[in-house]
Amino acid sequence: MAGAQSEVLTPADLVELIAAVAKGDEAAFDRLYAATRAKLYGVVLRILRRTDLADEVMQDAYLRIWRSAGEFDPSRATPITWMVAIARNRALDVVRKKGEASLEEEPQAAETASDEPTPLARHEMTDQLRRLLACLGDLEEERRRLVLLAYYSGWSREQLAEKFETPVNTVKTWLRRSLLQIRECLGS
């Protein structure tokens, strides 16, 4: 139900739930939603920074998850990376669509707030995450920040250029080299 507490589900549980959702099991959708809503909302809210937009994106994202559950391939993605990708894509579409006119205000505004750091327990880390972080750790400090800022805040090259006080073409070059380096480092 709507107010159900988030369960702690393993990736294998989520795979099963998605398979059940694909067969039209609404109760499975409820459980899937309960288990993942806060993570996806955190992801899209961070990019959109407006709850009204985030609410809308959540609806669209979960509708898509519901309707394309049959297309989920557990050999190619984990349930949560698949769902996060759907939600992020939607959020990025919305933020690009609305953001063209107001690019300039965002980077400055983003510096006014500070995060409450939340330590991440070691056991929460997947092997894949560890490897990715190791590869990110190989990047130069500034480029690592660039990649992470782009991922978490959904910033465009132009916004990153402003933030890093560097030409857009430089950002483009940095991104290209960093992403290719990550790709080489991960090897798969």
Partner: protein
């Protein structure tokens, strides 16, 4: 090894989110048409998607699940935000979340956990007033106000959804075909004012003009009543005030509520004169106009200060189509 670095980087940047609008559209077309490229994107989604673990979860409002289910049940399509949605009449911004700072630094692998800081976001909305000072102090009173606004917006959407089933219970709805606006209200007016139940009536006047539609917004016989005439051809809207008491310092504002939009769109204030003509519908397509719910709220003089309804919602109503628009000849 990397076979095509250009495509690899394009796929990665798409997933990372650094591409602009035009490039995103282009990449989405490539994903749809090129399965090799689609696989590159999927692989990057898997690689970078691991970073979600560092995002602090934020509990969404409970109403979202109801909305998802309602939209799923109704077969509501998921619109492509990159190509659709007409320009907003008034950009509503009921809530603004304080911007997040950049994600915390990640130490090099050797010295990594357990000190990784998670990027987090403050879920509470910030006060709306525009001149946001660089160091925003949280003003709880303003925050509460904004939360209230956002709640209101959600309530409005709830209203829009429920209306398909409930509209007839609250308002009289009259659908008229081929009526000249200036002729329309008179034959209908007595019935509308007298009867509290739904009125569905078809009036045909010989005319080569395409169909026009009318919605009557009235709660009961003693409350204010408005007749809305839509000319879908010219996309104009005429509001006739049948009966509405003027309240000092207040104004009636007309809204279009559609699940295509995130919040109600203002169609302008209803003037003091008997007829108010509005060209605002030019921004909306016929499907939206036909499917929308129309609502009147009581707002401060000059209209809603926020671009979204703030006052009590007096009426809501939908257009009902009882005759096919292609109907050619009047009945005998």
């Amino acid at each position: 090894m990397i076979e095509n670095p250009d495509k690899e980087v394009l796929a990665a940047e798409y997933v990372l989110g650094t591409l602009g609008l035009a490039e995103r559209v282009q990449v989405q077309q490539m994903i749809a048409s090129d399965s090799t490229f689609a696989a590159l994107v999927r692989d990057w989604e898997r690689r970078l998607g691991e970073l979600n673990v560092l995002v602090t979860p934020v509990e969404p409002p409970p109403s979202i699940l109801e909305w998802i289910k309602a939209r799923h049940a109704s077969g509501d399509p998921i619109r492509d935000v990159l190509v659709e949605e007409p320009p907003p009449a008034a950009e509503p911004a009921p809530t603004i979340v304080p911007p997040a700072a950049e994600p915390a630094t990640i130490a090099p692998a050797a010295a990594m956990p357990p000190a990784i800081e998670s990027p987090s976001i403050e879920p509470a909305p910030a006060p709306r007033p525009q001149p946001l000072p660089p160091s925003v102090e949280r003003d709880t009173a303003s925050s509460a106000q904004v939360i209230e606004l956002s709640r209101r917006a959600r309530r409005w959407r709830g209203t829009a959804l429920a209306i398909a089933a409930l509209a007839a219970a609250f308002v009289g709805i009259v659908v008229v075909r081929e009526v000249k606006p200036e002729l329309m209200p008179d034959p209908l007016k007595p019935r509308v004012v007298e009867r509290q139940v739904e009125v569905v009536k078809t009036v045909e006047v010989p005319s080569p003009r395409p169909a026009q539609y009318v919605a009557v917004l009235q709660r009961d016989a003693t409350s204010p009543a408005f007749l809305l005439t839509f000319d879908l051809d010219k996309r104009t809207l005429t509001v006739r005030t049948v009966r509405a008491e003027r309240q000092p310092g207040k104004a009636y504002e007309l809204w279009l509520v559609s699940d295509r939009f995130r919040s109600p769109r203002s169609l302008g204030l209803i003037g003091n004169e008997e007829f108010t003509q509005r060209p605002q519908l030019a921004n909306y397509d016929a499907v939206t106009i036909n499917g929308a719910t129309y609502a009147v709220s009581l707002e401060p003089e000059g209209g809603s200060p926020t671009g979204a309804p703030t006052g009590p919602v007096l009426f809501t109503g939908k257009l009902l189509q009882v005759t096919p628009p292609t109907f050619a000849a009047p009945s005998p």
